[in-house]
Amino acid sequence: MGLESMIGGEGFLTTKINDLVNWGRKNALWPMPFGTACCAIEMMATFSGRYDISRFGAEVVRFTPRQSDLLIVSGRICLKMMPVLQKIYRQMPEPKWVISMGACASCGGVFDTYTMIQGVDQFIPVDVYVPGCPPRPESLLDAVFEVQKIVSGEKLDSGKHGS
């Protein structure tokens, strides 16, 4: 879309392989939904027709972490769920990005109790945080845009988080 008109002539294009790979990755994010609470309802709304995350290339929702590269943690994470979340995160292939959706996943929200994880970023790396309780689908879409910006800046020759 638009690219063909810019190429013109013989149909060749010069670019950096880094840019080409990042361009492909950021427009084909495959989310792994880790929905545990009401934020998951908003996440489902984001995936469905009205808000339609597929406009931005992230509609291939995979329920296996081995096929996804964007983990959306949406909802409360409690003491028993954190090992599961870490296992899911470990199973995702590199490169991978994490959205912490909503107040509970980001900081525990109103649940400052013995069983609530006060922010999943203590235990897995988080790239983008989404405030709200729960956030509107527009907020999650904006978080996907933020992830796309992060993806655009990735370097191929280093590991995603450096090494």
């Binding site: 003491l79 400052d112 970023d121 405030p131």
Partner: protein
Amino acid sequence: MSDDTPPPETPPGDASPSNQQPAPHPVRAALPPLIESRILDEVTHGGQTWFIVRTPDQRAILEHLRFEQNFEFLKDITAIDFLGRDTIERFQVVYVLYRIPDKLNIRLHAWLPEEVESVPSVVDLWDSARWSERETHDMFGIVFDGNPDLRRLLMPEDFPAFPLLKDYPLKGRGERRQFPLVRPRGNEMVEDAPLPYPVSIGRGMHTPEYVEEVQRESKPRKK
């Protein structure tokens, strides 16, 4: 819990036996005298009635309510910790019963001393008591003697405490900080010490550069 209509003549919020001796609740009146005499007190508040007994006595009352008075629905079993209150014992085990045909709620509170090891299970009366007693055991550490499967229900199996006891701190004793930080390094996943807590929300997202970028990109809203 308060879906039955309150009788109009009952004084609201009166937890002490009054002088004019109101008529006992029909459920209590139907109990045999030997069992009825074990009821320490009867309280009606907000349309809800409950009987208070001491701990081994609730078993006989529950059996009678189950088989003779047709309370076939056990809503819940829970407990109350009166630590620091001026009560005769520390715990109350609460049985919430329901009779489906006339939609009648009755609660039975059984005082449980702190040093008593266990209370009799009612799994043989109501099958639904299995999970209710498991949950009460999970939260309060009360042992139900006769429950065939008294494992933890909600908390992790190796959780070291009973979190609904009043002497357990609300924010725990550090159990929620027990995980490592899992992150990729190179081609493998490594485990580090967890990040300090609390961390700021939106770390890296409200830097001056980011704020400037948002202000630059956002357009003024049209009228």
